[in-house]
């Protein structure tokens, strides 16, 4: 679904390499967890996949569409949720969802059904008629998640999706991620909650200082020790690298 080829991105005119020659592929129907310490390059990578940042070198393709050459086709396949909780705050929740539905071309019938379903799932139906600026962080996150699911994207791209969610909504989100993948779609998400990544992900990529330090299923990552947790693997990789 996603193919990253030698992806490189630098800041401060090349002095800081945020992402350094990163290559990876994700398959249809898998949940891919992207973990790493703060400043490791997770968000930069996700932004390049979403088409917000152009890489200095290398390429991104989503569902066979090259993000640089065919951005509109590639973006149609993605439902993106940033880590910032920034949503147009002078729109009402329902107006925001209509906006998203319009730009992704979701027909009215499907739109109505999905809006009802996800608003109920995240328990924000009552707030949908209010201005987004009156929402709490968690509610904004739920709205952004609803918007990202509205067009049933083949790729759900989530940057720290659990931040700000209450336990019930976090559980609902995890179930939705699983259900989304069961339908043959892909979920690519970053997280700091290692237990979530360990339990939920089919494969995990650990990024450290812009490079992919490890990649594989939990079993594959436990190369030496059978009982190793993701936490111990993570610390071993990031402290010895």
């Amino acid at each position: 679904m996603i193919e990253l080829k030698n992806l490189t991105k630098s800041y401060a005119r090349g002095r800081v390499k945020a992402v350094d020659d990163l290559s990876l592929k994700t398959e249809r129907g898998e949940i891919f967890g992207f973990i790493g310490p703060n400043g490791a390059g997770k968000t930069t990578t996700i932004k390049m996949i979403a088409g917000i940042l152009a890489p200095d070198a290398g390429g991104v393709s989503v569902g066979g569409a090259d993000m640089l050459a065919e951005p509109v086709r590639a973006k149609k396949l993605i439902g993106y949720v940033p880590d910032s909780h920034d949503v147009f705050d002078r729109l009402k929740g329902i107006e925001y969802l209509n906006f998203i539905g319009d730009v992704y071309g979701v027909p009215e019938k499907e739109r109505r059904e999905r809006i009802e379903k996800y608003l109920a799932m995240f328990e924000i139906t009552d707030a949908a008629g209010e201005l987004v600026r009156s929402y709490s962080h968690g509610m904004k996150q739920k709205l952004a998640l609803t918007g990202a699911l509205l067009h049933k994207p083949p790729l759900w791209l989530l940057d720290e999706p659990m931040t700000g969610l209450d336990p019930k909504s976090a559980l609902a989100l995890k179930e939705e991620m699983r259900a989304h993948c069961r339908e043959g779609n892909t979920v690519f998400f970053s997280t700091h909650i290692l237990e979530v990544a360990e339990r939920l992900c089919d494969r995990i990529g650990i990024i450290y200082k812009g490079k992919l330090a490890a990649l594989g299923t939990m079993d594959a990552l436990r190369t030496g020790e059978k009982d190793a947790t993701l936490e111990s693997i993570f610390f071993e990789l990031t402290e010895t690298a």
Binding site: R13, K47, A50, G51, I52, L53, A54, L68, P71, V72, R73, A74, K75, K76, I78, Y80, P82, S84, D86, V87, F88, D89, R90, L91, K92, G93, I94, E95, L97, N98, F99, I100, G101, D102, V103, Y104, G105, V106, P107, E108, R111, R112, I115, T125, D126, A127, A128, G129, E130, L131, R133, S134
Partner: protein, 570 residues
């Protein structure tokens, strides 16, 4: 930490943040040739923008002050200049305080810190005062220099004049700013009591604009009435102090400012004393009041009240196109954000409003449309109706220029939310088109209002109004398309208040300058063609040319926006 130390610390912190001083002083920071070129280009544009404003203002002021000097009326004329400075400061100061002080997003952060409430208010007030002092400088210093030149002052006297002007310049914004602060504090506190505070802020803001325009109209009316009275004119010509009093009676600090600047020694002392005492009185009222009202008002502005209704209307889910989605989003955001709505509507509505209020204030309404049309006929050089057609089109084009702020800050206003525009599968071309369409709709509203005022007060015929609307709209297209280019190139994405996204955004000035340049070219071409051809033929040539040119500019803007959206990172 005492109050003064606290104030200094927070003020320095604010200054560092506002002007990114930390980034400038960062170690190991070396600029590439491209960055240096960009910086120089930016500096040049800034100089050009300030220079253009100063030149334009100076060209208007010079003959006015020279004439006044020949008649020995410099003091009252300088009084008018100072009064105008104060009105401008009060108007822009109130708008700035509304948005920068009472709409600041960092208010919650400060409220949580162990800082005195009045310290935070005083710091934000000082920052706004600095901005208004800069605005005052643009209007006061050219007048001071021109006054020195036309009065043929010798070098030492000229130097003395500059030295006398310095404290006047620094003290001048104090009274209007104190009044603006009082007004803003009371209004924000009042609006905080209502659920519809955004709408109330907008209404109050528009009432303020109307009030100030009406005040200015009445002031002109008073002067015109005084000049119509032979005895009063004689009195004013024999006693310049009487004229100064007549002009500044409504607002004594303006008289003190003029006296301090160019009065005799005793008057100067009195003038400085008056200004300083008024400034001190302003501080003595505002600071204690801010301790009680500031946080209550500002924090309430950050809250968004919930309605009692639950959920959303069943008819609320409607499908539409991407262009319509961006257009609706743009319009909703503008009208639901008082700062945006005030700034854009002020630009668009001020023209017909000033026209109408000015006429009402000076008694022009009672003169009747016929007399006004005769006056316009003689001003436009002849009784040919062709110039009325051009005038109508010019007014519509001008509302396009006035309303360009809505377009020239369109990407900046999204700020951190720009990620959404970057990630949705909608080409930059469609997004730019929607933004232009929104700007055009707003300008069109102002144009219709202007034409209605002209039709009622100046007897413009329906044919002239319709012609003006169509031809002027064609001319406005390249203006609006050009206005978005600076913002598409480099939007201002990080701001602490909505005012920063719009008012303190250099893109809006650049957009305006581009518009003025294009408007001058179109206006000149229209005038020249109208001399050679009938007005309909001239329009038949110029309108397609404007549409074609506008389309080319639009394509250019779309390409620039496309490139920006692939690289802009929040």
């Amino acid at each position: 930490m005492n109050a003064w130390q606290e104030y200094r610390r927070v003020l320095f912190l604010h200054i560092r943040m506002q002007f990114s001083l930390s980034a400038l002083g960062a170690k190991g920071r070396k600029r590439s040739g491209r960055e240096t070129a960009k910086l120089l280009g930016f500096g040049f544009l800034l100089l050009y923008a300030v220079g253009a404003v100063l030149l334009f203002y100076g060209l208007i002021l010079f003959p006015f002050l020279r004439g006044a000097a020949e008649m020995g009326l410099q003091v009252p004329v300088m009084g008018i200049v100072i009064l105008l400075c104060m009105i401008i400061v009060m108007f822009f100061g109130t708008m700035s305080l509304f948005s920068l002080v009472f709409g600041a997003r960092d208010a919650e952060t400060y409220a949580a810190l162990p800082l005195r409430e009045q310290t935070v208010f005083a710091v934000k007030f000082t920052m706004t005062y600095g901005i208004e002092a800069a605005t005052t400088a643009v209007f006061l210093w050219p007048a001071v220099v021109i006054y020195g030149v036309v009065s043929e002052l010798p070098a030492p006297s000229f130097l003395l004049l500059i030295l006398r002007a310095l404290p006047v310049w620094l003290l001048l914004p104090a009274v209007p700013m104190a009044l603006a602060a009082l007004l803003s504090m009371l209004l924000t506190r009042l609006t905080a009591l209502s659920r519809h505070r955004d709408a109330l802020m907008l209404v109050f803001g528009m009432v303020l604009v109307l009030g100030m325009t009406l005040g200015q109209g009445l002031l002109s009316g008073r002067l015109a009435t005084a000049l119509g009275d032979a005895d009063k004119v004689t009195e004013m010509l024999t006693d310049t102090g009487a004229m100064l009093k007549a002009v500044t009676r409504a607002f004594p600090p303006a008289m003190w400012g003029a006296q301090a600047l160019i009065g005799a020694a005793a008057e100067t002392a009195l003038g400085y004393f008056g200004l300083a005492a008024a400034a001190a009185a302003g501080a003595a009222v505002c600071l204690p009041l801010s301790r009680r009202l500031y946080y209550k008002g500002v924090l309430a502005q950050l809250e968004a009240p919930r309605s009692k209704k639950k959920g959303y209307k069943q008819g609320g889910v409607k499908a539409g196109g991407a262009l319509g989605a961006f257009y609706s989003k743009e319009m909703r955001t503008i009208f639901r954000t008082p700062v945006y709505a005030l700034n854009i509507l002020t630009g668009i509505v001020i023209l017909p409003l000033m026209l109408a209020v000015g006429l009402i204030g000076t008694g022009g309404l009672s003169a009747g449309a016929g007399e006004l049309k005769d006056l316009l006929n003689s001003l436009l050089g002849g009784s040919s109706g062709d110039m009325f057609y051009l005038l109508a089109a010019g007014v519509v084009m001008l509302t396009g220029v006035m309303g360009s702020t809505g377009v020239s800050t369109s990407f900046s206003r999204e700020g951190r939310m720009l990620w959404l525009s970057q990630t949705v599968p909608v080409p930059a071309r469609t997004q730019v088109a929607a933004r232009l369409l929104a700007g055009f709709t707003l300008s069109l509203g102002g144009a219709v209002l202007s034409l209605a005022v002209l039709s009622i007060l100046a007897g413009f015929t329906p044919a002239q109004a319709v012609f003006g609307l169509v031809a002027g709209s064609c001319a406005a297209f390249p203006l609006l398309a050009a206005a978005i280019i600076p913002d598409a190139l480099k939007p201002k994405r990080k701001w602490n208040s909505e005012a920063e996204a719009m008012k303190q955004n250099f893109n809006s000035i650049l957009g305006l300058l581009l518009d003025i340049g294009i408007a001058v070219v179109i206006g000149f071409a229209a005038y020249a063609l109208q001399k050679l051809l009938p007005v309909w033929a001239a329009a038949a040539i110029l309108a397609p040319a404007c549409l074609g040119g506008g389309y080319a500019v639009f394509c250019c803007a779309a390409r620039i926006a496309d490139k920006m959206m692939k690289t802009a990172d929040g």
